[in-house]
């Protein structure tokens, strides 16, 4: 979770990622940000997020993203 918040903070430092649950819906992060997040997660956590998992629900909050990463790690 810490690494994910760190990645998100690098993109938009002013956002409170502990509480925000509508990052995509409120357009705080856009498609370019999402690709940067996917690349950083691949780089730092060695977890590959497939295209079919790139849906708003998985990127709307740091917690949802952490849950996705955990799910993908468990599947691996």
């Amino acid at each position: 979770m810490d690494v994910i918040i760190e990645i998100l903070k690098e993109l938009h430092p002013d956002v409170d990622y502990e509480t925000n649950t509508s990052l995509v819906d409120d357009r705080i992060i856009d498609s370019f940000d999402i690709i940067s997040i996917v690349a950083e997660i691949d780089d730092r956590l060695d977890v590959q997020i497939p295209a079919e998992e790139i849906i708003p629900d998985n990127f709307n909050s740091a917690a949802a993203l952490a849950a996705l990463v955990k799910k993908l790690e468990d599947e691996d």
Partner: protein, 530 residues
């Protein structure tokens, strides 16, 4: 059969009557018949194309589902007989994925191949001929381009990818899938619906309710008003301005730019209003394709509000898969290590965006002007992305971000920029577009607006009054939605006399001020050609 024709209106009314009179289980089969009749009237040969696409997508969907089903069964069986291991599960899933991928690839290439051959053969021939001697020149081929092929092919490919990903189950009834591919209101110009969304209401049994039906009716009338009163009126001036590039330079190009922006908006959103309105009358929910695009404060926001279903199609099915592809991630890693932080973060994102905008340009048409149009969008988005930190600093320092005046400035700036890029679509000739836009800065005469020149473009002063009043009505409704985030119909519906009064008003002004008769022709929608 044009949307703007008595035949189409009669066709739709007859459909509404039958739809609610026949037993409810006949509703979706009736829609399938109506859709095929609609397509058959346009050209019987079109049915071969749409039929082929449907059959191939049906077969591919079922085969992919079966491949997945086999893997799921094998995993279940292994769990029951105690031979289950996580490695076995992984192996079975990988095998299913590989089979599904092969089926997806073949079906996608087949359908996109049909699109490519019908739409792009002559573009390729023309460009090859530029390099050949006159005697060796290839002859253009006479090919049928089925109406709405780009729309239904993309919709079908979306269905195939969703089935591959497992986000939807394959449709097991070929006739239901045929309806999804051919649903007539959206055949002409979209929206590009997703199977997961449209199928929720497309095959259901719908009871007639006054509210849903009249909501749909108002939406249809709103669409006709925009199309017939505004777009089909202003097109006269746009055609004149674009048609004579010798006379209409300088300020005329500026006028053409905004007239075309107004025309395209009313034409495309009007057409989509008719589509969504017809669907709503039938109790079917079609995804919105616009969300006040001319209220966008930057180009990225504009593309989130204009032709939404096309933008999201390219994002979900091309941009994301391309960006998270193994090779792309490897390139991303390499660029971080070798090119530094700046390029490391940007290279793959920009590369994917470049490919997506190139594809968006090509999707719009087989011509260089569309390709340049796509790449201009790419360039502007990239530049504004890079300038973003600068904007943020500016906004922080001058605290203008929340001021209404600055918001209006941002909106006007975006409209101007998007209209400027759209000039490639207007003149349909890349060097000509650059030349004409250039004259806007070198030969601009302010007197063009006041010396009566505007009355020489095929529109009289009464036409300008109608256009101004139309703009005012559209603007008022849009500002209401922008501010309240509500559908104006929700407010009007509560008071019956206002509701039916608004409906009658729309009907009357469309009938009275529609651009028909005295030399006008009802025209096909601009997006129909894509």
């Amino acid at each position: 059969m044009l949307f703007v024709s008595y035949e189409f209106i009669a066709f739709t009314i007859l459909l509404f009557v039958l739809y609610y009179l026949l037993p409810k289980k006949c509703q979706w089969p009736l829609l399938l018949i109506a859709s095929y009749v609609f397509y058959w009237i346009a050209n019987p040969y079109y049915l071969i194309f749409i039929g082929t696409t449907t059959i191939s997508a049906f077969a591919a969907g079922v085969l992919m589902d079966k491949a997945q089903g086999r893997a799921d069964l094998a995993i279940k069986a292994a769990k029951e007989d105690g031979s289950y291991t996580s490695d076995l599960k992984k192996a079975l899933k990988a095998k299913a994925k590989s089979s599904k991928w092969k089926i997806l690839l073949v079906s996608m290439l087949f359908n996109l191949g049909i699109l490519a051959v019908t739409k792009y053969t002559n573009f390729v021939i023309t460009n090859i001929n530029k390099f050949l001697e006159d005697g060796a020149a290839l002859k253009a081929v006479d090919l049928i381009i089925p109406m709405g092929i780009s729309f239904y092919t993309f919709q079908t490919v979306g269905y195939l990818i969703d089935t591959y990903r497992g986000t939807v189950k394959a449709e097991r009834n070929p006739f239901k899938l045929a309806l999804f591919v051919s649903f007539f209101p959206q055949l002409v110009q979209g929206p590009i619906s997703r199977y997961g969304d449209l199928s929720k209401t497309l095959y259901g049994e719908h009871k007639f309710t006054e509210k849903t039906f009249t909501y749909g009716l108002v939406r249809i009338l709103w669409g006709y008003f925009k199309k017939v009163v505004i777009a089909d009126r202003i097109i006269t001036a746009v055609t004149a301005l674009i048609g004579d590039t010798e006379t209409y330079t300088g300020a005329y190009v500026f006028i053409a730019m905004f007239f075309y922006a107004f025309e395209l908006y009313c034409d495309f959103t009007g057409g989509i209003d008719i589509t969504i309105g017809i669907a709503q009358c039938l109790g079917i929910t079609v995804t919105e394709n616009f969300n006040l695009p001319y209220f966008s404060k930057n180009i990225k926001e504009y593309w989130n509000r204009w032709h939404i279903t096309m933008g999201s199609w390219f994002t979900d099915y091309i941009f994301y898969p391309l960006s998270v592809d193994k090779n792309m991630l490897r390139l991303s890693k390499w660029s971080r290590e070798h090119l530094g932080k700046f390029w490391g973060k940007r290279l793959t994102v920009y590369l994917s965006a470049f490919i997506v905008w190139l594809a968006t340009g090509v999707w719009h048409g087989a011509a260089w002007n569309f390709i340049v149009w796509g790449l201009m969008n790419f360039a502007v988005i990239m530049i504004s992305q890079e300038l973003d930190p600068l904007y943020l600093r500016f906004h922080k320092k001058f605290k203008v971000k929340d001021k209404a005046g600055y918001g209006v400035f941002e909106i006007i700036r975006t409209i101007f920029l998007m209209s400027l890029i759209r000039m490639f679509d207007c003149y349909r000739d890349v060097p000509m577009t650059f030349r004409m836009v250039g004259t806007m800065f070198t030969r601009f005469r302010l007197s063009t607006f006041t010396d009566g020149s505007l009355l020489q473009l095929g529109l009289g002063s009464s036409d300008y009054i109608v256009l101004a009043a139309g703009l005012l009505i559209i603007l008022s409704v849009s500002i209401y939605k922008y501010r309240s985030k509500k559908d104006i119909r929700d407010r009007l519906y509560d008071t019956p006399w206002i509701w039916y009064g608004a409906m009658s008003f729309l009907l009357i002004i469309t009938l009275l001020f529609g651009a028909y008769g005295h030399g006008y022709d009802a025209t096909q929608f601009i997006y129909n050609q894509f």
